[in-house]
Symmetry: C2
Subunit: 416 residues, 2 copies
């Protein structure tokens, strides 16, 4: 089954907003084994939209659109779709009441234009919108399916979950199951090369590698008929870990390094604290992004100046003047001291040059990451640029992922 996703909105064509709807829908369709054939972004223009429906239905069975369902006069995609399928628009009293209720609840005045939103194609399945005024719909005509959603992701996603997923479960008897393997310390091409023979062992498995800033994710997938289960995917993951090399694998479950770290901390019932310089709070932000992090994380200190490194984190002024803030010695004291101040089981520290300024002796990208645990404290030197141009953001994310990897290694090797 082929699908085309159409995003309607001039603000997308202008580059003013990033189209996250199409990404979400692509992912969901992949899950149901529905092939996304093409994605298109267009402005709101009824004639052009009709032409696109005409062209695209030659190649696909399902068209899914987002946007263009607003109340204003230039939101005409719904009308164009009705013309294309030659079905009339029908007024829905219940939707009209819903829209009135929405305005009452939010205390805003309803414009007469909003009445237009209560009209939908005859014979469609209505997708009610509890988070906005524009309902969506599913229309099946001439062996083709058209599903139209409003544009705001906060309205689209709940509607997708309530209506589109049950619809896909009805029409597709396939499910794609996937598992992620999180690797660190290995390049994408190396990971890809090492995984090469996996399909010799498991011919039904597909795999792909994705490089992120500082880590590589491997995705294994398998298509099953509905309701069938099989242990193949789990066995393939085991084999993949063996092929890649266990020391590079940081999780076969978590979507990112911070989640892998928090899960490991929870499983071992230990806590972590952080002392950050160049990462500026990013590491504590990422740790606390993980829901439930409060059981393993209590404190992070961002010491962005030498005065704070010595005044708050008690790094010795001699060390700061002799070795500088960007040094093994400072990283070690930062980690050791924050661990003592907080009383956590382990502590991470980061000090480095994220740019824009650096010099020959201490170039941009030079970062020291310290780790302190019951067996002692050490620091590791990284040079994240080494001939490559990296943005400030990149260096900070690379530092955070390196810190998470170091903490995971430490916890595993001392077996708390």
């Amino acid at each position: 089954m082929n699908a085309t996703i159409i995003s309607i909105g001039t603000e997308i064509l202008l580059g003013e907003i990033t189209d996250t709807n199409a990404v979400y829908i692509s992912k969901m369709l992949a899950l149901y084994g529905i092939n996304v054939y093409k994605r298109i972004t267009v402005g709101d223009n009824a004639e052009r939209f009709k032409r696109i429906l005409n062209m695209e239905y030659a190649d696909c069975d399902i068209i899914i659109t987002t946007g263009g369902l607003g109340p204003t006069a230039d939101d005409l995609s719904k009308e164009a779709a009705c013309e294309y399928f030659d079905v009339p628009m029908i007024f829905h009293k219940d939707i009209y009441d819903d829209i009135c209720g929405y305005f009452e609840r939010s205390g805003k005045a309803m414009s007469q234009n909003n009445k237009k939103q209560a009209y939908l194609p005859k014979d469609c399945t209505v997708m009610y919108n509890p988070n906005g005024t524009a309902p969506g719909f599913i229309l099946e005509k001439q062996n083709k399916t058209l599903i139209m959603f409003p544009g705001p992701p906060k309205e689209m996603i709940p509607m997708f979950e309530s209506y589109a997923i049950p619809y896909f479960e009805k029409i597709s008897n396939q499910r794609v199951f996937t598992k992620n393997i999180l690797t660190y310390g290995i390049s994408e091409s190396e990971a890809d090369k090492k995984l090469g023979t996996i399909t010799d062992f498991f011919p039904e498995i597909t795999y792909a590698t994705y490089a992120y800033t500082g880590m590589v994710r491997v995705r294994l997938g398998i298509k099953f008929d509905r309701d069938k289960h099989s242990p193949i995917l789990e066995k393939a993951v085991e084999k993949a870990v063996e092929l890649i090399g266990g020391k590079y694998v940081y999780s076969t479950d978590a979507p990112d390094m911070q989640t892998a770290l928090v899960e490991l901390l929870k499983a071992n019932n230990i806590t972590v604290s952080t002392a950050e310089s160049c990462t500026g709070g990013l590491i504590s932000k990422l740790i606390t992004d993980v829901s439930g992090a409060s059981t393993v994380f209590e404190c992070g200190i961002c010491s962005y100046s030498n005065r704070i490194k010595s005044g708050v984190l008690n790094v010795s002024e001699d060390i700061l003047s002799e070795y500088g803030a960007v040094s093994h010695q400072t990283a070690i004291q930062m980690a050791e001291n924050v661990r003592n101040i907080v009383g956590s089981d382990i502590a991470l520290s980061v000090t480095g040059l994220a740019g824009p300024q650096g010099d020959e002796r201490k170039p941009v990208g030079l970062v020291y990451i310290g780790i302190s645990s019951k067996r002692g404290t050490f620091s590791k030197e990284f040079n994240f640029c080494r001939g490559r141009i990296r943005t400030r953001d990149d260096i900070r994310i690379l530092s955070a992922n390196a810190a998470f990897a170091l903490a995971i290694d430490e916890i595993k090797s001392i077996k708390y």
Copy 2:
């Protein structure tokens, strides 16, 4: 002049990566007054690509593609384009040497496939790629232009700047100038309504409003002929600020609230520190995202537990037990104490419930933001949910923007 942007890549269609290239190119074309007519995403398939070129050139003058220029056998878009325009591929010795040099520098082995990347359409303008192996090109044939870029943004963007911008400057005599107005505390529809008459005063101005989590950006734009300047845009910004209401306007320059705050701190030569609970380091991370923040920000303490609020931030245990961590009293002590510990001119504190847990008395979304300055310390209560469903992420971003707005208000009102 109409342009269509084509992104080539199966990983985009699968929703595995977000297509930031198309967003960047859309923005750049808007700047040169080139109308983006459509955006398309397709997999790597030579026949389909040729069909799309055929269809799209009926409506547009320029097609810009990203991706599909890799060394592997299934990267065939370049070849398909040559067939479409009926031009042969030419071997470029200098590009081949470049590719060899790239592999030498990075210490990796070059595959024979990479030689394919040194072939480009006859008569094209080569776009050299210092950050990768795939060169791009600009081909002008039959009154149409085809510009092909490699997919990785780190390769595409520098090539765009070096080659595509000079090309657009040559072919387009228009420039679109834009100015952003950053507002806080006003809804998108209110801002839009208040701005309604701006085109009566400045008919040549276009405007648009964009809602973000916790703020609304207004963009004013004007098209000029090349090299012409006019004070109209500046005057329109002044008028727009007057129409929206000055108290809602936080910057007519900065792209976001943290940059507006850092710029204001710098201009007044004052420093800020932060004490965060539910935002978990997000505020210090956002402040240090701004290049040059180190002159105004020295320290942020993330106190994620009561033990740290009392032990590190010296919040009185009586206050914590009587009023709880999520209270005016705690927010005030956090701000006051971090300001004293750090010795900064002002200090911000945030304590609240970002979820998932909350209760009736203290629901998810309840956040107290404290601010301390030389004139004293106070806290403001926010309820970011109030009948709406908000994610943990949303509540944290709303809290950060509210904190930035509060700090900007404070600095302006006491005129440091």
